[in-house]
Amino acid sequence: MIISSWFVVRRELSQHKRTILGIGSFVLPLMVWFMVSYVPFVWHPMMQISKPGGVDYFQVGMLVEKNVFAEELANMQSTSKPIPEGKPANPIYLPAPDDVAKALYTGFITPPEQKDGQWLHESLWHSIQIIFWGFFISSIIGVPLGILCGTYSFISRLNEPFVEFFRYLPAPAFGALAVAILGIYDGPKIAIIVIGTLFQQILIIANTTRKLDYALIEAGMTLGASRFKLLFRVILPGISPDLYRDQRILLGWAWTYLIIAELIGTTSGITWFITQQARYQHFDRVYAAIIIIGILGLGGDLILAALGKKLFRWDRPANKE
């Protein structure tokens, strides 16, 4: 009974169970990370030197591979020099959760290593602005064009074949071109996000517009709505909840283009922070920055979802996520 109540085919679980599972979805990967980090016999392919012993190139705190350590240990034992000591450790690119947790905090209070560098929060703010403008410009073009494509076959036939072609072109491929046209600062970065988002946006929104029940449009026509009013008083409000959901998905899409976009021209924003920290081998801060991107993305989406529920109360609960 206990097991079977969790595995009912295509039926939603109780709120209580959903909460548990939702937390569990985060706890599970975290547990893997904890295991790998804190249980010495799980993975740990390196040795961290605590005493160099007779090995002349060993230093305290240095990470060496286990087989190298074993070799040197055997060497020292055979030549009866003082033996090196150390404990199992993970490679430098896999910091332990507590290091990353600390870095999440210290990242914000540590001044930048370079004089003209940016603090973590400044980098983040810069990235958020890039995303905002990229998504905003894409939406200004993509939303109206998508709705028009979904409404008028003429516009759809004239546009969509080209859009279908263009969406297969990888946005980063336009990096060099964007720099040549827009310079090396924010311009090309925003352009890459626009290119990466816009073409999908047109197609997705056109499709959403087409899915509106045609009977509603017919009802509007028999009530005397002109073509212009049909668009603004029937189609637009009719698709608004789905349009809003599409925009949320597309915003996530825009986020995924962020890092590549920021590498173009002069590296900036959170990407600059990540590459800088990686250069100094502060991998705990790299992870912290990546986690912050995730938190910002998911957090933003949750806020938008809650707002959507408020905005579209009339939408049937069955359609709600």
């Binding site: 029940d213 509603l216 017919e218 028999t222 009530l223 005397g224 709505a225 009719g238």
Partner: protein
């Protein structure tokens, strides 16, 4: 109680006869002349409607009935202007119909209330589309809400209403525009028997009190006889008018008339027209279905 003991459906009491005379003396609202509609499909042209002719007078209640595939829906959609016709004419107040317009209200079978608008705003929609001020439209909408008995639901959204309530709102939404004719495409088809009966009575009440002509499509014979002054019987493949029956059941109508001789006679005639005694050509596919029943239960285990 054989069919023969029933009077002819053509027999009318003086009262009913007088009603029809009065009705026919009223002006013609809708005139359909030689209406034809062909569809182009991959298999060639399909004739959906062929030479349809009829006239509807002001404040007449016409039901359209016929077997499935007779083009009932095509007919009403053509009248609404939602589909073009191939040849012939549809005249409303002697003016030809081109495309949809507010002079022909329509109630659909599926619930087509705008889900993003409250009940009141749904009713106001048509008025606002025709540039009537919001305050004026609101006044009208409140009046109609009272008329259909849903004033308590004025701020509810359509998904909070039952099927019957939704159709009440749909009727009000169409009528608030003061159309010349109300076209109804199986409006109660999706309702359960009880709310359907309620809605039929309600519709007759509205019709009695408002200057409106109604063209109502149904496949339910009882519904057609209960509601209509005249019943337009169509036949399938191609959709043609078979007969225009004048319903001899006196008004005001009441459920008790379902077993009156006039009612049964009309129903018998409709049955005859729609389900002829000799089997109609069935589609090939359905002819090939031949169930072969095997007994799975004990011989003594009888249910009948």
């Amino acid at each position: 109680m054989t069919i023969k003991s029933l009077p002819s459906y053509l027999e009318q009491s003086t009262e009913v006869k007088n009603r029809f005379t009065r009705m026919k003396s009223r002006e013609v609202i809708l005139e359909v002349k030689d209406l034809c509609k062909n569809y182009k499909t991959e298999k060639g042209d399909v004739v959906a409607l062929k030479n349809i002719n009829f006239k509807t007078h002001r404040r007449e209640f016409v039901c359209v009935i016929g077997p499935s595939g007779c083009g009932k829906s095509t007919l009403i959609r053509t009248l609404a202007g939602l589909e073009p016709h191939t040849s012939g004419e549809v005249l409303l107040d002697e003016k030809p119909v081109n495309g949809p317009g507010r002079d022909r209200g329509m109630v659909f079978q599926g619930y087509t209330l705008f889900p993003w608008l409250t009940v009141k705003k749904n009713i106001m929609f048509g008025l606002e589309m025709n540039n009537i001020s919001t305050t004026e439209a609101e006044k009208e909408a409140i009046l109609w809400l009272e008329l259909i008995g849903l004033e308590k639901f004025s701020n509810a959204y359509p998904h909070e209403l039952s099927g019957g309530m939704k159709q009440r709102v749909a009727i009000a939404r169409a009528l608030v525009n003061q159309p010349r004719i109300l076209l109804m495409d199986e409006p109660f088809g999706a309702l359960d028997a009880q709310s359907r009966a309620k809605m039929q009575t309600h519709l007759l009440e509205i019709w009695r009190n408002i200057d409106i002509t109604i063209l109502f499509i149904t496949h339910d014979l009882d519904e057609a006889i209960f509601l209509a002054d005249r019943i337009l019987v169509l036949k399938a493949h191609p959709g043609e008018v078979q007969e225009l029956i004048e319903v001899p059941v006196p008004r005001p109508r009441h459920i008790s008339q379902f077993n009156s001789p006039e009612f049964l006679a009309t129903k018998a005639r409709l049955e005859e027209l729609i389900h002829p005694s000799e089997p109609e050509k069935e589609p090939e596919q359905e002819k090939s279905i031949k169930p072969h029943m095997i007994r799975f239960v004990n011989v003594n285990d009888n249910v009948e």
